[in-house]
Assembly symmetry: C2
Homo-oligomer: 768 residues x 2
């Protein structure tokens, strides 16, 4: 579907209506505000294919696990993002016939997502079966400022006379497409209406999530407000009905104001009041003011996070789309929330939290938002430490060893493939690394004593038990893991997992020593609470001093796992295009036996621990592994862009950048109809900032080594660092850096430290 959506700096544009593309467009045009989100279904009835999706952050359903063959240790439930009441629905009958763009295709159809303002707009001309013609304009937003309020402004301009019945309401009888046993997840609680509004409550059949959604409408003819709407309620549904006669030439407008609240934020018995309060607030502000507040809120986001790419509109649109979607998904306001792989754009993958959060999203939020937002992501894991300890206990670990889940909503594991659930344990490493990265980026060690050290201890305890002594090797080994490259399962001594596990134990030791030295009181509390004993440090030290790491001395590379070189060695470029992606063409055993790599594995380690290795080591490993990598994870290309840039492989870097930045807009994997790849969007940001921008975090400063892809005229990005924002601008000749700080800020350019003074632009020549 390359080029289906028009290229534009700030907008995603669909011109002309294509029912085949509608579900994909529903994903692409999704809107959200971190607390709720909505696929871009049409307001009107639509009899064609559509994936209904309205989501409320944190409200989920534990769907009974479905597997073919049960394995001991599998979780009983898989937490699913819940499709919740449909609040956009409008049934607009013209001379008794409902508008339905599938039945009667529109002309001059145009759909625009304005990323600058966060507005979804749509316009089209429509003719009923009996040829009554109208023009329609619709605008929709979920307020980023008033995050329990959403609005629609829907206008019909008449080109004929006709009678109209315009029903608009909320429909709570919704199902999840992705329900293991076709269960209905919701129960009715109540539906009510009065003269001014209607509202309903629903409750999940498990876990007692309760929500209240209410709305009112304003109606206008040629801008003059009327008061002629009747509100009603029936089982599962609330409705407003506006009946009138269209007069040719006149414009009829309905503004729909919706409030959505859940018992995540209110007591269940306060929900109706909270909902009503929101509606009162909405009425007071009115549509235009609500919209202003929303647009201003987006302006703030862009002020901190925009990336400008010059000379390449597709790339410009791609990177903004990614930044936009990430900001629609997560705001950091609530430490119970996290970043689902599909955000608010689809049901697939259920759950909300993968290691993507720490490995990809955390750097994005650190670089573009206040540190407290990143800290919320850390707190999320601390809050779930008890569950991680329970999770490990289920697998036979003890003494406070913690295994964070592969997929989770509330800290409980949701996933049920043994090779992932029980074996893709490197996720624990990413969660520890996030603590380190936060500390390095912010310089703030306070989180270590607010839970960070406990998280690190649980993780290191897990590693110490998961690793065992091999009498045969006379070294410590780790068996039965799945590394980041999920095209290998149940391997022994995955270099990446071995490496990060050892790093965890070393870093945890440092942190515990730091605490013991600097805060005796907390240290005593910590030891008591966790039953920590310094003999554990000795054990860890013994492990890290005697760990086995698979290497090949001849090639000078780290081995992805023991025996990797026994595989038949092939290059990804040898694969016929008819067999790619291999995960859609090859059986699983064939994939496992092949040397092909799904996403960075050894290279993921060299990315995270870049400073531990020299550039030649990186080069040898990159030269060996990248050609064997098929990049069939959306998380793969970005890491390689960063490394290719560093190694001066600029063509390779740009080629891989293209794969990541427009993954969804160009639907590379033919699956965008299921929703967007939200977490990998953060990887795209990294590809620009850490890749082409060459950003690295050093002790107490940022460092940049930019390069400019030859396809671009220049690019410009902002990075938030501690109390200031750095503005980095690269054109064909120069790199310019400035800061909004009020004092001098140090940073490194190509390894040289420079002191940026407030309001001065530092410029130097771009290295080529």
């Amino acid at each position: 579907m390359k080029n289906y959506f028009l290229h534009n700096d700030w907008q995603i544009i669909e011109e002309g209506f294509n029912p085949e593309m509608h579900e994909a467009a529903e994903s692409i045009f999704s809107i959200g505000n971190g607390k709720m989100g909505q696929r871009a279904m049409f307001e009107e009835n639509y009899s064609g294919k559509t994936l209904q999706g309205s989501y409320i952050a944190g409200v989920y359903y534990p769907d009974k696990t479905r597997v073919g063959w049960w394995k001991n240790g599998y979780p009983e439930y898989f937490a699913k993002v819940l499709n919740s009441p449909n609040w956009i629905t409008m049934d607009i009958q013209i001379d008794g016939e409902s508008i339905d763009l599938f039945k009667n295709n529109p002309s001059n159809f145009k759909r625009i997502l304005n990323m600058k303002s966060g507005l979804l707009q749509r316009s089209f001309d429509y003719s009923t079966s009996s040829s009554k013609k109208i023009s329609v304009d619709v605008e929709r937003f979920m307020s980023k400022e008033d995050d329990e309020i959403a609005c629609i402004r829907y206008s019909i301009t008449a080109h004929d006379n006709a009678s109209v019945v315009w029903n608009s309401g909320i429909d709570a009888f919704v199902k999840n497409t992705d329900a293991n046993y076709d269960e209905i997840f919701w129960s009715r609680v109540s539906e009510k209406s009065d003269n001014e509004k209607a509202w309903l409550k629903s409750k999940t059949n498990k876990l007692n999530f309760e929500i209240c959604e209410g709305f009112f409408v304003k109606t206008f003819i040629d801008g003059v407000e009327l008061s002629n709407v009747k509100y009603t309620s029936t089982d599962w549904k609330i409705n407003s009905s506006w009946e009138f006669n269209l007069e040719k030439g006149k414009t009829y407008t309905m503004e729909k104001y919706v409030s959505i609240v859940s018992n995540m934020y209110y007591d269940a018995d306060q929900l109706e009041q909270a909902c009503a309060d929101n509606l009162i607030k909405a009425k007071q502000y009115g549509y235009d003011e609500l919209k202003n507040r929303h647009v201003n809120s987006w302006a703030e986001v862009w002020e901190n996070a925009d990336i400008i790419i010059e000379g390449d509109v597709a790339a410009q649109q791609g990177i903004r789309f990614n930044i936009f979607q990430l900001n629609q998904t997560y705001t950091g306001r609530d430490p119970r929330l996290n970043i689902g792989p599909k955000g608010f754009t689809g049901e697939k993958y259920g759950g909300s939290t993968y290691w993507d959060t720490e490995a990809y999203c955390l750097p994005f939020y650190l670089g573009t938002s206040d540190a407290k937002i990143a800290k919320q992501l850390l707190r999320y894991r601390y809050t779930q430490l008890d569950k991680a300890i329970e999770n490990a206990a289920k697998l036979g670990f003890n003494n406070g060893a913690a295994l964070y889940p592969m997929v989770t909503m509330n800290g409980e594991e949701c996933h049920n493939e043994w090779e992932i659930t029980f074996e893709e344990i490197h996720r624990n490493g990413a969660i520890a690394f996030a603590v380190f990265q936060y500390e390095l980026y912010t310089g703030d060690k306070s989180y270590l004593k607010e839970g960070g050290a406990e998280v690190l201890l649980g993780i290191s305890r897990f590693w110490a038990q998961r690793i065992h002594w091999s009498a045969a090797k006379k070294q410590y080994v780790m068996h039965g893991v799945t590394g980041p490259n999920e095209y290998e399962n149940n391997v022994n001594n995955n270099w990446y997992t071995n490496y990060i596990s050892n790093w965890c134990m070393k870093y945890t030791t440092e942190v515990i020593n730091y605490i013991a030295e600097t805060d005796k009181e907390y240290y005593v509390d910590f030891c008591t609470k966790t039953n920590f004993n310094t003999s554990e440090l000795e054990k860890w030290s013994d492990i890290t001093s005697n760990m086995f790491f698979p290497v090949d001395d001849e090639l000078g590379i780290f081995l992805q796992q023991e025996g990797y070189l026994d595989k038949e060695q092939m290059m990804a470029s040898d694969l016929p295009s008819s067999e790619r992606p291999i995960n859609q063409h090859w059986s699983w055993d064939r994939i496992l036996r092949s040397c092909f790599i799904k996403q960075a594995d050894v290279l993921q380690g060299l990315f995270l621990f870049e400073d531990h290795f020299d550039e030649n080591t990186l080069r040898r490993n990159f030269d060996f592994y990248e050609p064997r990598t098929v990049h069939e994870s959306s998380l793969s290309p970005c890491i390689h862009v960063i490394q290719a840039t560093k190694l001066g492989y600029t063509d390779k870097a740009y080629e891989l950048y293209l794969r990541t930045s427009r993954l969804d807009l160009d639907d590379y994997n033919k699956e965008v109809h299921e929703g967007l790849h939200i977490t990998s969007m953060a990887g795209t940001w990294m590809a620009v900032v850490n890749g082409f921008g060459g950003l690295r975090i050093k002790e107490n400063k940022l460092s940049f080594s930019p390069m400019l892809p030859k396809q671009w005229d220049g690019f410009n990005f902002l990075v938030r660092y501690r109390d200031s924002i750095l503005n980095i601008k690269i054109d064909k000749e120069n790199i310019s850096v400035s800061t909004n700080a009020i004092t001098t800020v140090d940073c490194e350019i190509y390894g040289n430290t420079i002191s940026l003074e407030p309001n001065k632009v530092y410029t130097q020549a771009l290295l080529k």
Copy 2:
């Protein structure tokens, strides 16, 4: 439930009724005749827990696959044994109240399965809620002689006067408990009745299996036949109704004659006629003659297959139970049928054919039945060769490479766990080995040209493609397999699989050379049909000459797989009993990482290829692996009994024998309510005959090296060999061998060849 069923040489006896045990008893008391089978549900209504199960051989349903996460290559369907119409059902109302042994528990309840005669008998005293007393006697059989006919004789002796309505019929509205999506598998076709009988037809909703079941009853008062029954039919059901008044002291008997036919054996439009013909035949014979024919047929089985154990009633009962159930399950009359893991005793595991058939059942049928029965098992696989080639093609293999399915009904793979479906490929070796074993046992090479060579070629082609050259090792290797020990998944160079794969290529080479030398005409046909080229033999020879086999020279053992010694080494005896079986207590990853072995793996190879290795090699490997084996497969102990016996480890042999012989009768695994472990029953036979009897097949003779467990006074078994039956009797002092052959038969006793003369008993002292 040890000792719940009373010990008896020829009978399984339940005394007293225990509703908690009813489902287990339904499995234990199952009857069948190879063409159909039936769990021992009660005829009367029963409101307690019961697992309804009536099965018709070859009639199955492709149930849509259910998995958590789809892997490329998974089969779309899992063929399920079909629960089919309930033909035993009787609703007997006494003064308007149905007999229900759950509501009003019976007294003097006794249930007997007579294994000698194949009769299921039951008697009890019963009192209605209003204290009307009766005594009941029931007998049931599915005729082994007339294998589309089943009979019930149900007698009520009155101790009070009461009115009775005795409905008896067939109920076709049945479901599978094990249905992935709760689907109904059957559709109604028709129900009909006339003055003498009633019959119905049903059809499966997929694959067009169609069945017709009909019945008539005879009724008697004190042995005097009446003619007062009315037949009716309604949707899904046919019925006969007999209304009368019980008179104290009189006995009322109903004989129910049932015919069950399917379009496996008749055109669909002939089914009604075939069913009617059976009923006419049944009427002509009458109950007693049908029963005689059935009992005589069982007598023939025992004449060929009985094993007598003296001094140990539990062991005697156990071995007869196993022989009995195997003969209920498979008769070899139809090459489309095979031996399901639960036979006709439950739905679990679906499918009908596992590698159990070749590895365990084939030796049993070779040793106890005419060779043509074993040949049917070989022909089953030949018939399915095309599907095995398709199956391999789905996984990326070509040029006629064949991978037989792990679980199948019609040749298509049913299983859907990648680590089994795609990786437990040693099954292919067992299927080739069966061809070899049949040839060795029977001396008959004819099957090689009737399909055997084609099967071998397909299998060897698979191995040649599945094995690859390791440039690192400079040897051929096989990656990504699951060996017989399913507590390891996705390992590299499993010794057993490497060994049997190489053996396959060598044996296939021999067979092809033999054919080329002895039958040029067939050889040309063979080459044309299979596109065979002698360069394939060169490739195989290169592989078998340069194959990697993992060994440990220091311990002098073959390694189960590469890296096995890197595991933490523990003994099964170190496991606390609270953690056993580990498959019910440990998470899957923990099982995989441990050194514990589910069932013989290296030792399976040393069992099949015993002659390739010296006794010290066997001893070193047994001493190493058996203590690490947890025997959590029903197929495990028997192989170890055989090897322990050979090595003189008599206590170990007897301990393991107990685990296999009464597995179901004593419900070791707490799962007998789901059905019996039919295929492993053949392993028990092997434990006695190949283990304690020391039977081995040598070129053109059998060889025996018996030992007597000290718990036994003696044992006696029959082995069919070519045209004769050998009778081997062991007591505390001697071994006696005789034959029913009319000419001299050679055999070996403890390595010495002796010539058995007809009608003479050869006796020598038992070695101790």
